[in-house]
């Protein structure tokens, strides 16, 4: 088992390599594309069409599209609250990344968590969990497995509920990336598990700067 530093170093190297390839690949299409720490995909996933109910106290179950406010970013995570290791690590890194942004940047960033385990993650459990990390959030929860699968597919995410153990517990495997969605519903960058808060914050700043003061170039978002 390599040390965490080694893992992070490997990850950073891999991200660097991928970022380079992505930058080269993107030259013809968008030469001035911002260089980012996370993964970018070509074409960038369009996720606005996948709507899920937002059970946060502010929304009370209204369906919400995966789309940031104008000129902003929506940081989206698929996870579950019984996850003791991976999910809280990423959510704590996300919070630290938000803390590193300038106030003017931070107010343009929202956070959403989609539960992949709605059976155990009741509305109350999910909101309680998110309140530990953030002051405001979107808590996305559906018991419609097809709607959840559609949303995951749009992002390129997956999950699997394992068999129940002796105590009725079960393991959940899930894609542990954090995604940044823009106001057109386009996934601009994906950070794999273990990306440091600073790397996330740098990417968020770069993407926000690209959108200027929020006078958005909305040509990217084809609504469907």
């Amino acid at each position: 088992m390599p040390g965490w530093d080694a893992t992070r170093a490997r990850l950073t190297a891999a991200l660097g390599a991928i970022a380079t390839v992505a930058a080269l690949g993107g030259c013809g299409e968008n030469a001035d594309q911002t260089k980012l720490n996370g993964f970018t995909r070509t074409p960038s996933p369009q996720v606005a069409a996948a709507k899920l109910p937002d059970v946060s106290p502010w929304s009370r179950g209204r369906e919400a599209a995966f789309r940031a406010r104008r000129g902003g970013l929506l940081l989206t995570y698929f996870g579950f609250t019984s996850c003791p290791d991976v999910c809280p690590t990423t959510l704590a890194d996300t919070r630290r990344a938000l803390e590193r942004l300038a106030p003017g940047e931070r107010e343009r960033v929202e956070v959403a968590m989609v539960t992949v385990d709605p059976r155990r993650d009741t509305r109350r459990a999910l909101n309680g969990y998110l309140s530990h990390f953030f002051r405001e959030w979107r808590a996305l929860r559906t018991t419609d497995t097809r709607a959840l699968a559609r949303a995951e597919r749009a992002f390129g995410a997956r999950h699997q509920i394992g068999p129940a153990g002796a105590h009725g517990d079960y393991e959940v495997s899930h894609t542990a990336s954090l995604y940044a969605v823009d106001d057109g519903g386009v996934v601009r960058v994906e950070w794999p598990f273990g990306t440091e808060a600073d790397a996330i914050a740098d990417d968020v700043s770069a993407l926000l700067a690209e959108r200027g003061e929020g006078r958005a170039n909305t040509d990217r978002g084809e609504d469907r």
Partner: protein
């Protein structure tokens, strides 16, 4: 003839000494169990209503050892297991699974860390708050039971 007897006697004596020495070694091993060193033990602070948490640490051993079990008092968590999180390369899924043992290489150390090995706490009796000390008892194949205090903090 005499010489042969002398040599035989010497060999026997040496053998007896050798046996004696072996016996002593075993006793020493048992009496002064080869120690493991636990450092930087910490427990993850839990959000409200969370039923699970994790404890992380660095385990070092001079002689080599294996962690085979872990437990915490019942008024903290009803169930404790040793887990490993796996996967997550690129866009991959991550999952946890219980492991029987974690080998600690001789003269080396193993990190229990986010995204890797951890002591998983289940059926939490109460939330774990920043600054709490969680006593975790670790069972090693050679060193026996070792208790360490894990200081609770954010991830």
């Amino acid at each position: 003839m005499n010489r042969i007897t002398t040599i035989a006697a010497a060999l026997l004596a040496a053998a007896a000494l050798g046996l004696g020495a072996c016996g002593d070694d075993e006793q020493n091993t048992t009496a002064a169990a080869e120690p493991v060193t636990i450092s930087d033990a910490w427990a993850r602070v839990t959000p409200p209503e969370a039923k699970t948490s994790a404890i992380y640490m660095t385990i070092a051993s001079e002689q080599g050892d294996a962690l085979t079990a872990a437990s915490v008092p019942a008024d903290i968590a009803g169930m404790t297991q040793i887990h490993e999180t796996m996967g997550g390369e690129g866009h991959g899924e991550m999952k946890m699974q219980e492991v029987d043992r974690i080998e600690i290489p001789a003269g080396g150390s193993v990190e229990l860390e986010p995204g890797g090995y951890h002591v998983m706490l289940m059926k939490l009796a109460r939330p774990i708050a920043a600054g709490d000390r969680v006593p975790v008892t670790l069972t090693f194949e050679r060193a026996g039971e070792v208790t360490a205090d894990a200081l609770a903090r954010e991830g």
